[in-house]
Symmetry: C2
Subunit: 215 residues, 2 copies
DNA sequence: GGCTTCGGTGATCAAACGATCAACAAGCGA
DNA sequence: TCGCTTGTTGATCGTTTGATCACCGAAGCC
C-alpha cells in the first residue's frame, strides 16, 4: 500500500514534486549506489531486512538489485567486504612500536585513530549484527586486533615500564572499556560525549599507572 | 523435507527410538516449556527466527504456540519480561553503600555478583539483539545501571578517597571493560577465561588507583 | 467400560518473501 | 531522426511466513 502510493506519486507527481524519471546510470555507479544503501539499511535493521525495503531506500526497484547481485547472500557478502576492507590500518602497529614517542602518547594516539575508524553507525552496528549471526570474518577481525595490536601493545608496555607484561585479558579490558563507548552510542543509542578523547586519555593513564604499580 | 522426515521418524519410531507420544501437559507447564524454548531460540538466532523452527525446538507443533501466546509479538514480549525481570538485585546498591566494607572489596564483590547475573548465553545475546532492534526496555535498563549503580558507586569512590568524584564517563569505562568480557564470550564467541574474577579485581584496582592519583 | 473435557494436531489461509522474466525506454552512434 | 544497445521496470513465480480452523485423542471422572 505504501509501496504503490509512493510509486504512483513518484511516477505521476501527484503532490507537485517532479516525477523521478527513470535515470540510466553506468553499471559501476548504480552498483555503488545500491551497495551504499545496503550498508546503511542492513546496519539499521540487520540482515533480516527485506530486499524490497532496501530497494525503496535506494530509490530503485527490487528487481534491479538482482541485476547487480546474484542473490541476497551475495549482496550481504559485498556489504561485509565493503565494511571490513581497509578498516585496520597497518601504520597503527608501526606507530605503536615507535619508541621515540612516549608510550602513553602512542597508545592514546592509536585509540584516537582506531575509534575514529570504527565509531561509525554503519561499522559498529554491522559488526554487531555479524557477531550475533556468528560470522567468521568477525572472529578473524578480533583475532587480528588481539594478535597484531593488543599483544604488541602489551610488549611495548612491558618494555617501557620495565615490569612484567600485562596479561592479554587486561589488554582486552582496556580495549573493551573504550569500545564500549561506541556500543553505548550506536548499538544502545544512548547519549555519549561528542569528544571521547579525554575519556580515552584518562583510561590509558589509569591502565599504565596500574601496570607500573604492579611491576 | 527435514520436517516431514523428522515427524515421520518421531511418530513411527523408525530408528528404534520410541515415538514421542502426544503428552498432555497442564497449561502452566506447557507455557513454561514454550517460553524457555523461546528464550533459548531467540537468544541464538534473534527475533527474526521463525515460529516453526521455535516450535520444532520446543518439541511441539507450531499451531500450539498460538494457544498460549496470541501472537509472535506477545511471545517476544514474554521473553523480554522473563529475561529482564529480577535481573537487577536491589541488595547490590545497599552493599555498594555499606562503608563498613573496604571500597575495593565492595566494588569487586558487586561486579562478581553482577557478572554472575548477566554473563549467561541467553541474557547477553537477547540484550544485544534487543539493543540493536532499539528496544525501549534496553535503554531503561542501562539508564537504571547508570543512575542506581554507577552513580552511587562514583559517590562512594569520592567519599572513600576524599578526592573529586569520577566522571560518569569514567564509570562507564570501568563498566564497559568488564561487560566486554561477556560480549567477547557470548556475542563474538571468542575464548575467554572461565574465571574472570582476577580480571575484574585488577581492573577495579587500576580504576581506584587512578582515581586516587587524580585527587 | 463409557463419557466428557480440553490439550494438541494437521491442514490451510493470506500476506510477504527472494527471485525471475518479458517488455519498456533512456542514451548514444549513425 | 532513426535504430540499436542495455539499464530499468511491472508483473509474476514458488516458497515461506504468521496466524486460524475444524477435528482428534489422551486423561480424568463416573
Amino acid at each position: 500500500m505504501i509501496v504503490s502510493s509512493t510509486v504512483i506519486e513518484g511516477r505521476l507527481g501527484l503532490d507537485g514534486i517532479a516525477p523521478p524519471k527513470r535515470r540510466r546510470l553506468g553499471p559501476e555507479a548504480r552498483r555503488e549506489q545500491i551497495l551504499c544503501a545496503a550498508v546503511a539499511w542492513f546496519a539499521e535493521v540487520g540482515f533480516a531486512g527485506t530486499t524490497r525495503d532496501l530497494a525503496r531506500r535506494a530509490g530503485v526497484t527490487q528487481a534491479l538489485l538482482y541485476k547487480y547481485f546474484a542473490s541476497k547472500a551475495e549482496l550481504t557478502e559485498a556489504v561485509f567486504e565493503r565494511i571490513y576492507l581497509g578498516r585496520l590500518d597497518p601504520r597503527w602497529l608501526k606507530e605503536l612500536r615507535d619508541r621515540r614517542v612516549p608510550l602513553a602518547e602512542r597508545i592514546c594516539r592509536f585509540y584516537q585513530q582506531y575509534t575514529a575508524a570504527i565509531f561509525t553507525y554503519e561499522w559498529m552496528r554491522i559488526f554487531m549484527w555479524a557477531g550475533l549471526a556468528g560470522d567468521a570474518l568477525n572472529q578473524r577481525y578480533l583475532g587480528h586486533v588481539g594478535d597484531k595490536l593488543l599483544a604488541p601493545m602489551a610488549d611495548e608496555i612491558a618494555a617501557a615500564l620495565g615490569g612484567h607484561r600485562p596479561a592479554m585479558e587486561d589488554m582486552w579490558n582496556l580495549h573493551g572499556g573504550i569500545v564500549y563507548i561506541g556500543i553505548r552510542r550506536f548499538i544502545y543509542r544512548l547519549p555519549t560525549p561528542d569528544d571521547h578523547h579525554p575519556v580515552i586519555e584518562s583510561a590509558v593513564a589509569r591502565f599504565l599507572g596500574g601496570c607500573a604499580a604492579a611491576s
